[in-house]
Amino acid sequence: MTTILSNIKIKELEEKARDIRISIIEMLAEAKSGHTGGPLGMADVFALLYFYMLKHDPQNPSWSERDRLVLSNGHICPVLYATMAHAGYLPLEELKTLRKFGSRLQGHPHREFLPAMETSSGPLGEGLSQAVGMALALRVDGKENQVYCLMGDGELNEGQIWEAAMLAGKEKLGKLIGIVDRNNIQIDGSTDKVMPLLPLKEKFEAFNWHAIEADGHDFQSLNNALVEAQAITDKPSIIIARTIPGKGVPEIENDYHWHGKAPSKEEAERFISVLKNPSL
């Protein structure tokens, strides 16, 4: 079942993820506000999805055969925008317009501004239901498209997530794969203190999901999880991806204060030089 990623592919994905992280820092510094920790933590997951796993065509975003990717925790949209730009959906130069008046790159995703995204998001807990709706509608039409839904772990506090989880389990949505950004932080502190989620894998299993844990910064581990999830056709799958918020910039890694703030110009220069040369 496991597909081994070649060393060349892994190297290529590492470079993509690094470029995405640099873009995230640049765009946040330019915007002077926004979320830093989450986007950096999810850069590897996004790189693997957009540059290896997803069936999609950046030149034809409305291609009906594409896989659907719903970003439920919309506040980490810098990683979505940066990844989409590196994949060719929008010019890299446009990333500088994040959060600015008239920009397609709204503070939280608004599909009316950027239709290449599958939905608008920001208010937490709503993406999984939309992904379930997409998977149900595609199944009614006899389509085989995969539907992915990316969620934060703090977001799992929302009751609506579990309404959707119940429905997906009931409907045995084999084409639905959820990915939880398990970074253990939310705005008020650690998820363990704010609202404990453990045992998380077992929670999803109790809702009749196939649950897999993976290292969110190890492409082989993530790829194994995705391949395993795709092979499960009689129930939805959840991948609990262990990530480090702020990943790639050691001085802010795992610091929840960096959940919702942007780097200053000086910080951005320092962070980017570390990303470009991790041995510094």
Binding site: S120, E126, Q130, G133, L136, A137, Q160, E163
Partner: protein, 325 residues
């Protein structure tokens, strides 16, 4: 206007607007295979059961989960479906208002929200279930169309018409059987108001009404006519987008004085929509019939309409009040 010829007869046919919706949903489903229905454990109450039986593969039982239902429908609409979501108005658009705002209206998703059991005429279940706020909740949302049909036939036509638009819409329904005041031939168009009663002499005031209280309004106007007070009645089925031209013409031909009649809070509903428009374009004295910033209670629909001052006698009193202004 062609209406039910038995409109002033005591044996006028009675039928719930939710029954009309049920027929309309079947027609819409026959016409378009992309029409799907979702319900939150109230399939029979909301009258989706006919559709469920005919098109089981296009019906989705959500369980008691109105918030998820709204967003699931948004996802289905993104895949080209035309989802109708059904529950009681107090739960949808009440409970799930933010999901409707973000996942339906913010996405301009083609989802049709069916809020049944609105108003005090829910009756015995009591105030917790009597939604008197839903018109306000729905009409404040960008991209949303809001329709409150006056009877079962209009509810059927509104359902068929909604299925043909490509944007979010809210349809407000009632539980009890109410008078069927229109006929199959009565025209219906989203966004068009219709004069349902014109007195035999020049009107000195006008009643703008929606929902089943259009019938009480016509009865009140007829009784007033017998007393020598001449008022006209406008059926404002579509509250948003407002038929501005129709409302203006009605005000001009109705003595420049208006009573708004709805089974809703006085604040924020249909009367509010009319007042907002008129205040800017044609300042007009108005009286408001509706719940006076209070919740309902248990009772029969008739008792409650009387208690909360929404029936024909209250409408007549309001007309007399406004004529003194």
């Amino acid at each position: 206007m062609i209406l039910n010829p038995k409109i002033f007869s005591s044996d006028i046919e009675m039928k719930a607007t939710r029954e009309g919706f049920s027929e309309g949903l079947l027609l819409a489903g026959d016409e378009n295979k992309n029409v799907v229905a979702l319900c939150a454990d109230l399939t029979e109450s909301v009258k989706m059961d006919g559709f469920t039986k005919k098109y089981p593969e296009r019906f989705f039982e959500m369980g008691i989960a109105e918030q998820s239902m709204a967003s699931v429908a948004s996802g289905m609409a993104a895949m080209g479906k035309v989802p109708f979501i059904g529950s009681y108005a107090v739960f949808s658009p009440g409970r799930n208002w933010e999901q409707i705002r973000t996942t339906i209206c913010y996405n301009n998703a083609n989802v049709k929200i069916i809020g049944s059991h609105s108003g005090v005429t829910v009756g015995e279940d009591g105030g917790s279930h009597q939604c008197l706020e839903d018109i306000a909740l729905a009409r404040v949302l960008p991209n949303m169309t809001v329709i409150v049909p006056c009877d079962a036939i209009e509810a059927k036509k509104a359902t068929v018409a909604m299925a043909k638009t490509n944007t979010p819409a809210y349809l407000r329904l009632s539980r009890p059987k109410t008078a069927v005041i229109t006929a199959e031939e009565t025209p219906f168009e989203i966004g068009k108001s219709q004069v349902f009663f014109t007195p035999k002499e020049k009107a000195v005031a006008g009643i703008v009404a929606c929902g089943h209280l259009v019938y009480d309004s016509i009865k009140a106007a007829k009784e007033l006519e017998n007393e020598g007070i001449f008022v006209s009645v406008l059926n404002l089925a579509t509250i948003k987008p407002l038929d501005e031209e129709g409302v203006l013409q009605f005000v001009e031909s109705s003595g420049g004085k208006i009573i708004a009649v709805e089974e809703h809070q006085k604040y924020g509903g249909m009367g509010g929509a009319v007042a907002e428009f008129l205040a800017k374009n044609r300042p007009t004295p108005m009286e408001f019939i509706g719940a006076d910033d209070v919740f309902g209670q248990s009772g029969t629909p008739d008792e409650l309409i009387e208690r909360y001052g929404m029936g024909a006698s209250s409408i007549k009193e309001a007309i007399k009040r406004i004529l003194e202004r």
